[in-house]
């Protein structure tokens, strides 16, 4: 028991979620403030380390990782590739899609009408296009997926407004560290 929030922090992070500085959830914000204190962070780091969880700090977010591999590589790759598809989709939707960006599913659906590129990308989502759903259902499905992974969150239920959380930086960092060798890079058409 290091702070009275220790178990709350553990509960959130253990589920693979992030604690983000710009979360609209006040509880998460409180947790972020607790972790922001570097002394508390170090204490909690040690504390969780004993039960094999590594408390990690990213750009405006916290998350858990582990020492040993618990998941096979294929599953992880599949997940990462899914993210690449999704970021690509949303960046096509709006290139300024980034931390703090706000949007609603209807914004995306409207864009589909005049952005053929976006539409074809939506069609290419393999698992979604299997069942013959309409576009709005599919878009909602993608948004739900991203929300489940805790990169965006529903900010306003009435207007269906979503907000991109700071955990989006995790995805950006992940993509930045993937290295494409120069000779391959030159072969990719513009």
């Amino acid at each position: 028991m290091i702070t009275k929030y220790t178990s709350d922090i553990f509960d959130v992070l253990r589920r693979g979620q992030f604690i983000c500085s710009n979360s609209p959830d006040e509880h998460i914000q409180t947790l972020y403030k607790v972790l922001e204190d570097s002394d508390t962070f170090e204490d909690l780091y040690e504390y969780f380390n004993q039960i094999n969880y590594i408390l990690e700090q990213g750009n405006e977010y916290f998350y858990f990782s582990r020492n040993e591999r618990n998941v096979d590589l294929d599953r992880k790759l599949e997940k990462a590739f899914g993210w690449i598809d999704m970021i690509d989709f949303f960046k096509t939707f709006d290139s300024s899609f980034d931390v703090g960006y706000r949007f609603s599913p209807s914004d995306v659906i409207n864009q589909l009408k005049n952005n053929a590129d976006l539409k074809s990308k939506l069609d290419n989502f393999k698992k979604l296009s299997d069942d013959k759903k309409n576009y709005s259902d599919r878009v909602k499905k993608i948004i739900e997926k991203l929300e489940k992974d805790n990169f965006i969150t529903l900010e306003n239920e009435i207007t269906e407004s979503y907000k991109v959380l700071t955990s989006f930086n995790y995805l950006k960092d992940l993509i930045s560290i993937i290295n494409i060798p120069e000779e391959i890079e030159n072969e990719i058409p513009e």
Partner: protein, 398 residues
Amino acid sequence: MDTFNDIKELVFALNRESKLISEMFSKRKSIDYKFSDALELVDYDENRIDFLIQKSVIRENGDTLELDDLFLEFFEQVLDVNEEINLSYIDENIKNIKENIDYFLNESNENRKYGYLRFIKKTFKKIGLITLRSVVDLRRNIDNTFKNESNYKNKQLKLENLDEKRTVIKNLIIQTLKIINEDEVTFFNRALDEELNRIIIDIKHQLGECSHNLIEIEKQIIDYLNQIKIHGKFLEKLRKLKYLKDHFLIEAETDVKQIISNNNSVIFEPRTSEPLNLSIDFLREDEKVFDVIEKIAKNHNARKVFKAELADSISDEFLENSIEEEIMINYEEIKNSFLATSDNLFNFILSYDFSKTVEFNERVTIFCQVISLYEQDLDIKNNFQTSNGIEYAIVTAR
């Protein structure tokens, strides 16, 4: 060109059409102002618009109207909303000052000297104001461009251009200060004017403020440009990765496998629920728990349990073997026994021992059946006999 005769007339004309002019000014960026829209604002009096066109306050451009550049610029400058930063003014003013300083130094007539001095003072004042205003405009433009320009390439280009303007302003400030501090020392020594000194102090103060602002602006621009650059790089990287992924090259050509395999974030782990058993002590000791249990138990009772209706077990009686005997008439045997005798069939059957009582009528039926079954073994004669009131044919073995 027809112009206004004096300020009074100009102000009066502008005042009369203030509705139209203010509307046109506020919409100057957004829409082409239609002649028909304008007509509404001048109470449908075309002459009033014609008058403004005549005096070059507005210009007619096909079907649309626009404010004359001269007036537009004037309004923008006075209202401090100009988006273009025009630096040629400052440059022009510096030149003017230099020229007038020369005139001043060459002139011996006190009156004319005073005229030049007055112009120089006025121009210095102007430089201070314009520079300050340009800096403010620059800052606002940079912010606007960064936040509102949607096209990334244009955003970058615009910011770069604004950055150039910043350099120009910086150079102009340096030039102005150079005139004051180095180039025209003789003039300042000779002029000996109290007001000029005050103006120079003011302008130095203003220019100093501008310089500080420019440093801040420079920082801001560099930051914005970097953000755009990083963002552009990220998009480029993303596009390439997506390309490789879609062509199934990503695993072979990049180090994604290694990076992902080293990444042991919990987010990759499937979410498992952890079923924990309740603590018995807790169940036993906590009072609230009892309430909860009662509640749940109630719910549990409320649910109807549908028992499957079972049939009774089959009684043993039904399972016991019971034998029922029935004597059947074996036609084959009757026929065979008959073939061994020389009797006629009717008599034979009538006296045949069936090991049960068989009525006469039945025996007659059996007689008919045997005949029909074994016709080929029997010889049906043409003579008849009567017995018990029944006439029958004589049948013997063949």
